[in-house]
């Protein structure tokens, strides 16, 4: 491949590109105010958790609901139904979560090799925030989620979401997140529409996504009263 006449002086490229941009903007386009008249939140009184459940289910992920007391039994039931016996478990997943499950817990300290992770049947994580309108869960490598690869290589991802983590909209979710943390926004299991634009679930990421929503009756009451 023929190099450009200026190639080989990479430090000049920066100044040259910036100079070209300034020259191209010689007409000094005027500033415009950015209109933000789109919805920032769901209407007051909206049932945020119900919408989250509906939207996650639309992606053919499976949503289970439980009160906090029933969480260990729910997790055990989900893992049993999926036939998962060896599970990657991030450092700060509460002991209680797996207290009723008959599985081998595989920690990530020292870090698991990719081959070891690939051989595991699943992973259980918490999340940073979840979005009702789009049915999205967001992982930010927090201590109950671990590094990004943990929720990538195993074929089953069980994600525990507490009701207080569910916000209505994408703007609300971004406001809660810290930009500099590595993030993975997950909306259903991995999918492709590359063949005749027909959606197929299950390509490279986990093919099964179980979302367990831990309900909080008090939060529900507060949201219903719109406060």
């Amino acid at each position: 491949m023929a190099g450009s006449p200026e190639a080989g002086r990479p430090s000049d490229a920066r100044e040259s590109v910036l100079a070209r941009i300034r020259e191209s903007l010689a007409d000094r386009p005027s500033a415009v105010a950015i209109p933000r008249d789109y919805e920032l939140a769901l209407p007051p009184g909206a049932d945020v958790t119900a919408l989250f459940v509906e939207r996650v289910s639309d992606y053919r992920a499976t949503v289970h609901r439980t009160m906090v007391a029933g969480l260990p039994a729910m997790i055990a039931a989900v893992l049993r139904a999926r036939g998962a016996t060896r599970l990657a478990v991030p450092a700060r997943v509460p002991d209680a979560w797996l207290s009723a499950a008959d599985v081998e817990r595989v920690g990530d300290d020292p870090p698991l090799s990719y081959a070891a992770l690939d051989a595991l049947e699943g992973v259980i994580t918490g999340c940073a925030v979840a979005v009702a309108e789009t049915g999205t869960i967001v992982l930010d490598a927090g201590p109950d989620q671990g590094r990004r690869v943990l929720s990538l290589l195993p074929d089953l991802h069980v994600c525990v979401v507490t009701a207080s983590q569910v916000v209505g909209t994408v703007p609300e979710a971004l406001a809660r997140l810290q930009p500099t943390r590595p993030q993975t926004w997950i909306s259903g299991p991995s999918a492709t529409s590359d063949i005749e634009l027909q959606r197929v679930e299950g390509v490279h990421g986990p093919r099964t996504l179980d979302v367990i929503l831990v309900d909080d009756p008090q939060l529900l009451m507060r949201r219903r009263s719109g406060s």
Partner: protein, 500 residues
């Protein structure tokens, strides 16, 4: 492993594509292509309309998206410097590239310096545009496309035909045959007895690519967005191949057009809503990855960001045409375009096909600065100016406005370089003369009625006899035979219909 290691196939290029009318005629004769495209675009159009209708504030999202992108273009120098600072502070390395050759050389240098002989790649328009795969191949680095559609194109020794779904021109049976014939040449073969069910084909891709993901040391990606304020880079995808490439290797190289910025973290709230609905007609795509520089103990421990010009500053210099740089590569304009639906993407002779390609490609190739080749000059005319593309664009690019503007540039450049004026120049000058007085218009109408009667067949004018610029005009167009009597003549003769 015995024998030489398998290598990816040579990548064909768009070089040598004939001008659009010629390429389109060939595409139109391909019944299979038209059937595949017609089915696929009809599906996605209906789905997009449904998810967009869910949002009463859709227009507000479009207005905000357009305004944010205009702000990016206006403040581009300072925002790029801000991004560079933030990425560097977070442990990344920022490079600048004036053109494709510089960008390719940087990618090759980084990959070779880490001892890589192969890289895995996330689907990216910028790297397609600079023909990175072939450049790396020439320095002995193999590139594995990991997006399903890109892999279908690569394995099929083929060219992409859609921004989002590059293998949209292939149906499931063709894809199965490509997998059966080609996968074994470059890695794990397709399973025996592979069917053409999309689910089985996706499973074959999963198995084939997993070994490549797990051993890759270096990945190359594009970027959907980069936040100047925080240095955060965003990649939006569906299959998880992006997550694999962005998470597993030691080294990540991201090639990003300089216009891909958003100023602030908050600005993502607009595009993370408008892009998935416009692109795959989903409320949200399955996976979005965001990273800022390097995170110790999580993901690649070396991150290189290449800021690419490659003609973008030429686009920026055109006050009408620069709005094309708002584009977020959703491809909604392709899916609604009656021309694209019938000709497919490859007729456009560029990695950017369809309406957005018709305005972006000529500008990236420098039409604002110098005369362009015939193929490039034909692109602004690859449209009926119906305007469907404007209505669906999530950043409100007025594609017909830019098309007309570029047509003007083509005609003026052609006048300056040819002794004979082009068909358009002749027609436009004649039109200007004719429309100056009612008498001239009346004469022209009578002549047209007579001419139509002589040359028209079955109510259509397909060509005019003889050579000359006006006959050339009909090479691209059919016209209804003009009425034998004009409306104005009819009005005079009948007293406005009283006597008819």
């Amino acid at each position: 492993m015995t024998g030489p290691a398998p290598r990816p196939p040579h990548e064909p290029t768009f070089a040598g594509t004939p001008p659009f009318p010629v390429a389109a005629r060939a595409a139109l004769a391909d019944a299979q292509l038209r059937a595949n495209l017609g089915r696929a675009t009809a599906t996605i159009r209906a789905k997009r309309a449904a998810v967009v209708a869910e949002r009463a504030d859709w227009e507000a999202l479009r207005l905000a998206g357009a305004a944010i992108k205009d702000e990016v273009l206006r403040d581009l120098p300072s925002l790029l410097e801000e991004l560079e600072q933030a990425v560097t502070a977070a442990g990344g390395t920022v490079h600048w590239a004036r053109d494709a050759a510089e960008a390719n050389a940087i990618v090759a240098d980084v990959a070779l310096s880490h001892g890589a002989r192969e890289v895995v790649k996330v689907k990216s328009m910028a790297t397609q545009e600079i023909e990175l795969n072939e450049a790396l191949r020439q320095v002995g680095i193999d590139v594995w496309e990991t997006d399903l559609a890109e892999m279908i194109v690569q394995l099929g020794h083929d060219l992409p035909s859609h921004i989002l779904v590059p293998a949209i021109h292939r149906n499931r049976t063709e894809i199965r045959d490509i997998f059966l014939d080609e996968m074994g040449r470059v890695g794990r073969p397709a399973p025996d007895g592979l069917t053409d069910e999309p689910g089985d084909l996706a499973e074959a891709a999963r198995l084939h690519l997993r070994e490549k993901f797990l051993r890759a040391r270096v990945a190359v990606s594009g970027a959907n967005f980069a936040v100047a304020q925080t240095g955060t880079v965003v990649v939006v995808e569906s299959e998880g191949n992006g997550r694999m490439c962005l998470t597993l290797p030691d080294v990540l190289i991201t090639v990003m057009g300089i216009e891909k910025l958003v100023p602030t973290w908050r600005d993502l709230e607009v595009f993370l809503q408008s892009l998935p609905r416009s692109a795959t007609a989903e409320r949200m795509n399955p996976y979005t990855s965001m990273w800022t520089g390097v995170t110790p103990g999580d993901g690649p421990q070396a991150f290189h960001l290449i800021l690419l010009d490659n003609g973008r500053t030429d686009v920026l210099s055109d006050t009408v045409g620069r709005q094309a740089l708002r584009c977020i590569r959703c491809s909604a304009c392709l899916n609604v375009c009656p021309v694209y639906e019938r000709t497919g993407g490859r007729a456009y002779g560029s990695v950017y096909p369809g309406p957005i390609g018709a305005i972006l490609t000529p500008q990236l190739r420098g039409i604002a600065k110098h005369p362009v080749d015939k193929q490039t000059a034909s692109l602004p005319f690859a449209s009926s100016l119906c305007g469907a593309c404007v209505d669906v664009c999530p950043v409100r690019i007025d594609i017909p406005e830019v098309l007309v503007h570029l047509r003007g540039q083509v005609v003026r450049q052609s006048e300056a370089t040819h002794r004979l004026p082009t068909a358009e120049a002749v027609v436009m000058r004649a039109a200007a003369w004719t429309l100056q007085t009612p008498r001239r218009l009346g004469l022209a109408e009578r002549a047209a009625g007579l001419g139509g009667g002589i040359f028209g067949r079955k109510g259509m004018l397909r060509r005019l006899p003889g050579p000359g610029p006006v006959a050339g005009w009909f090479a691209k167009r059919d016209l209804k035979v003009p009425a034998r009597e004009s409306f104005r003549a009819w009005w005079r003769r009948t007293g406005g219909g009283e006597a008819d």
